[in-house]
């Protein structure tokens, strides 16, 4: 049986039962309604409330944060789902759109390691240290490496050459499967991209990481989301959880509100933080767009999903410092699509030490293993097959961990798996997509308001705009457009 079910007696799907109308007392009109409280939705809501607009933020789950989430388990365990690391830019983003208190908690990881049959290295994951490794460990010339970095650093959104990431690597490091692995694997875990995706999506994200390495948030995801909620309230945002938005109301090509739980609430503008395709095809509905446009949207590819195994260390046990992030594989050579294999040989371990949650009353260690995954591999399993596959995932992960850090397995007293089904269940992303859509989704997201006036999308999309930093920044980019729209609207009314 799924563990979480015992927490909500009386519910059949693991979610808390609905005791009352989650929109009771809501107003009839807001300047802005945001659907979804992921990092993009929350950041957009905060920026626009600070700019003076009335904002209603709705979230179907009882927690805010979307994929930026955590959960507790008996025995004092607390697991972070997507706090493996992000680029330094998150510090500035927190400082500008949230608060100094949040920004001060964004600090660098101490160590990143790689362990696979091709190489075994520790790195600070920045340009200087990667250059050192590429020259000293991989035997490349300094000139070769410098040229590569100059090339990716110079890439920007407006000069997409059509080159794939695989072609980019082949161009600079022909035939060097080991180098391709070093460069690609971590980014594949960070945003689901592969060698087949556009080089520019790689270049932008890779350069963001290479500027200063990998950062984390001290205090845990729960602490960060807690501060964000406080900040949202201070900015005047009306927060409503357990609100399943069913429809975006559209009349004559203009979005004018939402429908949920029997309420129709009107708004000057609507931002959807739900999955891009769900927003267009389900929340608005295909009848509101040209048939041609709907076809194009249907063809947008979603990014892959994930599996994770959460391992809690027994109270009183310690895990000596190993590293923060360990990219590992037992596969002889790098094979980009194989990172999504259901029974794959590659995984990333995140090690969490008590220093990451200084406020916690109990000093606990946790380890989370993540893999990329395809929803299709998990979708049609019977309940029995599903349990068997999850047990296999747990066991394979524990064996891998024990090989890497002997003696750890015996200290673990809680093991639990999440699958593409889990991610779909909690965030309602189509196919449990962990990182939005492939590159082509970006244009559709950015131009949504050209199809439906007053309707905007903010959320992981197009590979570039994903991850904590990408999602939060995209929330601001969308907020800027909405701000412009709402000010024009106010002027019209006046």
């Amino acid at each position: 049986m799924d563990n979480r079910k015992k927490y909500y007696r009386g519910s059949t799907d693991g979610k808390a039962p609905f005791p009352r109308d989650p929109l009771a007392g809501a107003k009839d009109y807001y300047d802005l309604i945001v659907i979804g409280a992921g990092l993009a939705g929350m950041t957009a809501a905060n920026v626009l409330a600070r700019a003076g607009f009335s904002v209603l933020l709705t979230e179907q789950h009882y927690n805010y944060g979307g994929m930026a989430t955590w959960f507790k388990r008996p025995g004092g365990h607390i697991f972070d789902v997507s706090l493996h690391g992000f680029p330094v830019g998150m510090k500035k983003t927190c400082r500008k759109y949230w608060s100094k208190e949040l920004a001060d908690r964004v600090i660098p990881l101490d160590s990143v390691k790689f362990k696979n049959p091709q190489f075994d290295i520790e790195t600070s994951f920045d340009e200087v240290d990667f250059t050192r490794h590429l020259v000293e460990t991989f035997g490349l010339t300094r000139k070769n490496v410098d040229e590569f970095f100059a090339h990716v650093r110079g890439m920007n959104f407006y000069d997409d050459s059509g080159e794939t990431t695989g072609e980019l690597f082949e161009h600079h490091f022909p035939g060097r499967n080991d180098v391709h692995r070093l460069l690609m694997e971590p980014i594949s875990y960070a945003n689901g991209s592969s060698l087949a995706d556009p080089a520019i999506s790689y270049g932008i994200v890779f350069s963001n990481f290479m500027s200063k390495g990998v950062y984390t948030y001290v205090g845990g995801t729960d602490h960060m989301i807690g501060l964000m909620k406080k900040e949202l309230k201070q900015s005047g945002v009306e927060l409503r959880n357990r609100v399943q938005v069913e429809k975006i109301l559209v009349d004559s090509g203009r979005a004018y509100g939402i429908e949920a739980h029997g309420h129709k609430i009107e708004a000057g503008a609507v931002i959807s933080n739900a999955n891009l395709k769900s927003t267009i095809l389900n929340l608005v509905g295909p009848d509101k767009f040209d048939a041609e446009y709907v076809k194009e949207v249907e063809a947008i590819r979603l990014n892959n999903s994930s599996t994770q195994v959460y391992m809690g260390i027994r109270d009183g046990e310690e895990v000596p410092f190993e590293t923060d992030l360990l990219f590992t594989s037992t596969r002889e050579r790098f094979d980009s699509p194989a990172l999504c294999d259901m029974h794959g040989e590659s995984r990333t371990f995140s090690f969490y030490y008590p220093s990451g949650r200084p406020e916690a009353s109990n000093k606990r260690y946790t380890i989370v293993s993540s893999m990329n995954a395809h929803y299709a591999d998990w979708a049609d399993l019977t309940d029995e097959q599903y349990e068997t596959e999850k047990a296999k995932l747990n066991e394979d992960t524990l064996v891998a961990l024990e090989n890497l850090v002997p003696g750890t397995r015996a200290k673990i007293d809680h093991v639990e798996a999440a699958t593409p089904r889990t991610f779909k269940f909690y965030t309602q992303h189509q196919l449990g997509s962990s990182f939005g859509t492939k590159f082509e989704g970006l244009g559709y997201s950015m131009d949504l308001s050209k199809q439906i006036e007053g309707l905007y999308h903010a959320g992981s999309v197009g590979i570039i705009m994903s991850g904590w930093l990408g999602a939060a920044n995209y929330g601001v980019i969308t907020a800027n457009k909405v701000d412009s729209f709402l000010r024009d609207l106010a002027e019209l009314k006046a």
Partner: protein, 90 residues
């Protein structure tokens, strides 16, 4: 607003956005990005602040004009005619 006032207005906005940067030595001719640490998100914030404080709309295609302080002044001079300088960080 005069040209000089517009430059003051823009500097005041940058102070809000990048409170840790020292703006005393800024010249009007070199790209702002070369003088202080400003990224594309910061320029977006400048655009939002201009809209909020002065009601000026800078269309996305024209963000490039804000690259230098002189560029800001040239572009904003006709748009801010008759408006008062508002200093938030004075």
């Amino acid at each position: 607003m005069t040209r000089d006032e517009i430059i003051l207005a823009v500097k005041d906005i940058i102070t809000t956005i990048a409170p840790d940067e020292d703006l005393d030595g800024l010249n009007n001719t070199d790209p702002l990005r070369d003088q202080i640490e400003l990224d594309s998100m910061d320029f977006l914030d400048i655009v939002m602040e201009l809209r909020k404080r002065y009601g000026v709309q800078v269309p996305e295609e024209e963000y490039g004009v804000l690259n230098t302080l002189d560029g800001c002044a040239d572009y904003l001079l006709p748009k801010l005619e008759g408006q008062e300088l508002k200093m938030v960080n004075a």
